[in-house]
Symmetry: C3
Subunit: 257 residues, 3 copies
Amino acid sequence: MALITFMSDFGTVDHYVVAVKAAIILESPTQLITDITHDIPPFNIMHAANVLRNIYHDFPEKTVHMVAVDSMEEKFRALAIEMDNHFFVGFDSGIFSLISDKKPKQMVLLQKSQSTFPAKDVLAKVALKLAEGKSIKEVGETVNTMNELYERQLKVTKREIQGNVISIDHYGNAITNIRKSEFEKILKLNGSDVRYVIKFRREVFEKFHTYFNDVESGDCYLLFNSSGFLQIGINKGNASELLGLSVDSSVFIEFSN
Amino acid sequence: MALITFMSDFGTVDHYVVAVKAAIILESPTQLITDITHDIPPFNIMHAANVLRNIYHDFPEKTVHMVAVDSMEEKFRALAIEMDNHFFVGFDSGIFSLISDKKPKQMVLLQKSQSTFPAKDVLAKVALKLAEGKSIKEVGETVNTMNELYERQLKVTKREIQGNVISIDHYGNAITNIRKSEFEKILKLNGSDVRYVIKFRREVFEKFHTYFNDVESGDCYLLFNSSGFLQIGINKGNASELLGLSVDSSVFIEFSN
Amino acid sequence: MALITFMSDFGTVDHYVVAVKAAIILESPTQLITDITHDIPPFNIMHAANVLRNIYHDFPEKTVHMVAVDSMEEKFRALAIEMDNHFFVGFDSGIFSLISDKKPKQMVLLQKSQSTFPAKDVLAKVALKLAEGKSIKEVGETVNTMNELYERQLKVTKREIQGNVISIDHYGNAITNIRKSEFEKILKLNGSDVRYVIKFRREVFEKFHTYFNDVESGDCYLLFNSSGFLQIGINKGNASELLGLSVDSSVFIEFSN
């Protein structure tokens, strides 16, 4: 029996989260369900995609990830997707186009429900079937396309990487879409005598740090985080507030010889 | 071994929630405990009743629902109740009179404790005994009455249903005490050429919607939610803030021919 | 297989909490993990120590308590500690010097990691090994000292106990560092005709209460809570806001004959 994870924007003051869980427990009382988070800001598909992208591959293969974000939109079809050896069950808002570079191996359309609570009435039931080992083809009809969303893309030349903040975390750290691998590729292109500066807002830095506390408390650090993305933070402080960074803020790396 | 659910107004920054759970785990490490929510606003019995009423019947029969809301009030007796094939363990604040139309089948008074933390010292121990299959008569002495609370009642005539908002959810949706079944009964009474309008604050609507996105983003919808109650929301917006709705706000349905 | 508890200041909007859990689940899918709380205010070691001190002994002996508070500070060594028949795994911020009067029985230094996410890469792996019964000596090298932090100490004479508020809980109750046992010791010293007053801010009280509702709603109570510490609260109110109490506020008990 595979694990089910559950992520939503339901918050925790109402009965919504536990109603979905109860639908699973009612059929299979010992099914393991791990909460990712239910504090995704309401309707924020981008934040949800960012969390899911960072976490799904930390779970065992065949895990079923149940995603109920912006789940009230009936215009979105309900899908089950097999991708990168994991299963995803949720609404076709475009979120599933953002979480992996891999292509979906199989996608099926889940039977449309007349429900005003499809996370409970559709997703929970399908997630359980997949966790119990049913084939994805048994839970819906094959489809070939899903909605796609596009994040702000890096603009990359030999002399500049131009990226953006894609999320602000609990501590106020700003996470960008600039990958370490991209940075290293451009660095190499520029040869051994290359120099670079990192710029955002009114700040200019000449190097990356390795650890959060390579700087004093209250000072700004820049490092590639454990997911491989450039992160801007303040040691024991809130970078978003103190540096005026928010989602979409521009971050530049300029190279020179 | 039956499931235990746990709902409280303890919040999550202190040790209170986990102290109650630990009292169960210490005696029975594999006992399943499902959190309903611990973010009930402090002392808010009405909100807690609303959540519990919406969720308890989604769990298997014989589930033990442990409710620690306004739990510090020593004047409330501690009770265990069998009602609608579920067990409820908590304080006699009146909350248990609000969650079901069914009458309690059995009620027992739990032994008074000298504790300043009765949720841990009394409720957890009794909940575990019931989950393990002990008879309710073994955990306390039979009593015949519990405190009753009354919610604002619908005022219903052939020409008007007058209800109220009973809760605001995480998204800002306003949930009323007007049931679909009540509305349909009055509708039928008025015959086939009946018309109706729904009024609240300065808004007037002439129909109910079926889904949240039957209206454009930012527009107001009215529908009967998955629990059967009239819900007023704004597609991707906060109805409570934008329409000025709060707990107790009046909502009218007027019928005419 | 022993239980693992998990406490952090990670909050719940990001993937951090579940990334740590997933590292355990990946190796041992049925390992029981109980959340203490992830809402410790960022970097607040004192609050975390207070929660942990109140709760760890409620769990079975041999439980492994994983503590990721202020966990990004690479300057702190990672330790595993056996103390009071429990295991603690976390960073050497001084927190472990505050949670028990017992001395550590064994302490080992965990292998330094190059990780920017040591809670996931180091703590989770070691916690699992200890939960599975590995000896603490197998997970690191013995060390003899840990960082120590000192809380504000009581100042005690025969005529006065001078303490401080050490934490404000979810309800706004102010928890002090004045223990019931200390109070009773001084009371006894003063003989049978002793009188005392409790003073803080502009308030003066002449007795302790036993229960929260020994006073009317809205009135202030003083009692020794279930952990044995003097707690100042307002029945159904927020004492911190209404009485102007915050962490470090002074509280005095004066004795006279």
